[in-house]
């Protein structure tokens, strides 16, 4: 047995939520070609199927690109602080991809570690995540290499499976998910299927072996020299979470803000003295890989990557995670000796 819902009912639900003052974020067209997650005004802005995934991530809905932390007023020696208004609207992330939803339990660690981040956690508790299982994938997707997949349930409160003819199977995993669909579902015998998902093409054990021994490897230089040091990969990554804190002051009053930041930017590590411990781009690229595949897993037990492939999708110079990890794997295969390398080559041909 399964429970299903019609596409029109779904769209009506989205409109009702918006009408009730809930915030609904989901994928839609920006211009004629680009598909991004955005806050929706109407359900007809929503784009459900026939594309691999949006070029940005859902993190904007929980950890926005800029946020006021508190207000301040300076009057001589006297400084007055006032709290920023905390978000209080219920929000629904609709038709997220599994590789986006999976980022939330991963991010929960860092936002509840040495400090409980009030803003993130507040939004997290106000949010219900409805994921759409993937039918399609493209050359950048690699969820299956990092423990995910087209119907990975991590982070989802409910999941939709396209049945064709504007029908969806709905699986609710949490109370939040159940509450959202309460009274809306029909019983059925139809069960949703997913696409095959991307072929598993990375072996993280091999990658971590390399990271343990090869901090100084010439591979970093060779492989990442073309990186131009922008924030495109990090800002569209569901798991990157660094931010910068700045003051925006007009006269004697202002706000303290936090805005996204990226370890790929040269300014990220500049000390007040002017010294920059990561002065070259390959060092910054190495940092991104180490943080995701070595540091975060050592600290929190989970890889800081869901395999969404956005870093490669948006990179202006064809870099991102996969080209680097693939190069690491090739290096490891070459080291393991010609025999093993041939073996790997044969496997590739077989696939």
């Amino acid at each position: 047995m399964s429970t299903i819902i019609g596409g029109q009912v779904l769209r009506d639900m989205v409109n009702d939520w918006i009408g009730d003052g809930k915030r609904v974020g989901g994928p839609g067209y920006v211009g004629n070609h680009l598909i991004l997650y955005r806050w929706l005004h109407r359900s007809d802005e929503l784009l459900l199927e026939s594309y691999p995934r949006p070029h940005n991530s859902i993190k904007e809905f929980l950890f926005p690109s800029h946020e006021k932390l508190y207000h301040y007023k300076i009057d001589g020696q006297h400084i007055e602080l006032s709290e920023a208004v905390l978000p209080d609207a219920q929000q629904i992330i609709f038709a997220a991809r599994p590789c986006d939803a999976a980022s939330l339990p991963i991010l929960d660690h860092v936002f509840n570690w040495d400090y409980r981040d009030v803003f993130y956690n507040r939004r997290r508790s106000l949010t219900t995540v409805v994921t759409l299982a993937c039918q399609d994938h493209d050359a950048h997707c690699f969820c299956t290499s990092v423990g995910g997949g087209p119907d990975d349930e991590r982070g989802s409160d409910a999941m939709l499976f396209a049945l064709g003819q504007d029908q969806y199977e709905v699986r609710c995993f949490t109370d939040k998910g159940k509450a959202l669909f309460e009274g809306k579902l029909e019983e059925s015998t139809r069960v949703g299927k997913v696409g095959p998902g991307p072929e598993r093409r990375l072996d993280l054990e091999t990658v971590r072996e390399f990271l343990k021994t090869d901090f100084e490897s010439p591979l970093w230089e060779r492989q990442t020299l073309r990186c131009i040091g922008c924030g495109a990969c990090a800002y569209n990554c569901p798991t990157c979470h660094c931010f910068d804190i700045t003051d925006e002051k007009v006269g004697s009053a202002g706000v303290r803000m936090r805005s996204w930041d990226s370890c790929q930017m040269a300014m990220f590590t500049v000390h007040a003295s002017g010294h920059n411990p990561r002065s070259r781009q390959p060092q910054r690229q190495r940092q991104r890989i180490y943080h995701k595949f070595e540091i975060y897993p050592s600290k929190f037990g989970e890889i800081l990557c869901t395999g969404c492939g956005n870093c490669s999708r948006v990179c202006p110079v064809g870099l991102g995670i996969t080209p680097v990890l693939t190069a690491i794997q090739e290096e490891q295969a070459a080291r393991a000796g010609t025999g093993a390398a041939q073996e790997a080559g044969r496997e590739k041909v077989d696939q």
């Binding site: 925006e248 805005s259 996204w260 202006p316």
Partner: protein
């Protein structure tokens, strides 16, 4: 063309005339070519040339990591080559200390990039070696501004709404800046934090400040390679802003950036005959 490119590059490296070739490689045929830095003659086979070579490689000429590789030869299209003229005029490069290889080009990108429809640089100018053949014909200047002209048929309010929607999406990833061959400042005004010059946060206000500043800093300098527009992950059509300032420079001063290595840069010179009609 690729064979000839390999031959030329092999000779340049073997003779020691250059130490590195800044060119295009393509490891995965399914993906567009990406920048590569070839330092030994054995690797030149890794260089590719095809109509998907969109990146403007001249942005690497001023990067310290690439400079450290030694004297470069760089592969450019006609539009890209203009950046070298500007960089030289602005004393950012020593033109005599590099070899510029120009590829005849009939257009790139899938679909073809907007700039290619009004290109008058199919044959690169001011290069040291030209590979391939193409015909560059003069283009009706208005054709270069087609997209801008269409945009300008809208009312002021409509245009304001458009920019509001577009700039709201900017996340300040600075891909537009990093990819730009003429955004070579060591410390961009957008990164100044002692004191902050304008909001570094991606608020609508901060984004307006960033984009207006960026457009003005590139006035009379932008060569129209549209790399910023290609790089922008938010799909913001920065091309419209660039066209607007480029037309101001062309109309008011008869100047187009990167065409003539001898011409006085419009930003770096003045004349008592200068028109002031654009100051309102």
């Amino acid at each position: 063309m690729t064979k000839q490119l390999h031959k030329v590059c092999r000779e340049l490296l073997e003779s020691g005339k250059v130490q590195v070739i800044i060119g295009y490689g393509q490891k995965d045929r399914g993906q567009p070519p990406h920048p590569v830095f070839i330092t030994s003659p054995e690797e030149v086979e890794g260089l590719v040339w095809n109509d998907q070579c969109v990146a403007n490689l001249t942005t690497y000429l001023t990067r310290k990591e690439i400079r450290a590789l030694g004297k470069p030869a760089i592969i450019v299209k006609g539009c890209d080559a203009r950046a070298i003229v500007v960089l030289q005029r602005e004393s950012q490069i020593d033109r005599s200390a590099m070899v510029v290889i120009g590829m005849a080009c009939n257009g790139v990108g899938e679909p073809r990039l907007a700039k290619c429809a009004a290109c008058d640089a199919h044959v690169p100018a001011h290069v040291d070696i030209t590979i391939g053949e193409a015909v560059s014909e003069p283009v009706d200047p208005e054709r270069r501004y087609n997209d801008l002209n269409v945009f300008m048929t809208q009312s002021t309010d409509e245009r304001m709404d458009y920019w509001q929607d577009e700039l709201e999406r900017c996340v300040r990833c600075y891909a537009c800046r990093q990819v730009c061959p003429l955004c070579y400042c060591e410390r961009c005004v957008a990164d100044k934090n002692r004191p902050v010059r304008f909001s570094t946060a991606p608020t609508l206000k901060g984004n307006y400040a960033w984009h207006i500043t960026r457009a003005f800093h590139l006035a009379g300098r932008c060569i129209g390679c549209d790399e910023c527009t290609r790089a922008c992950p938010a799909g913001i059509n920065l091309r419209l802003l660039n066209l607007s300032v480029a037309r101001a420079a062309e109309n008011a001063f008869g100047y187009r950036a990167g065409l003539d290595p001898e011409a006085e840069p419009v930003i770096g010179s003045f004349s008592t005959q200068d028109k002031e009609s654009f100051i309102k």
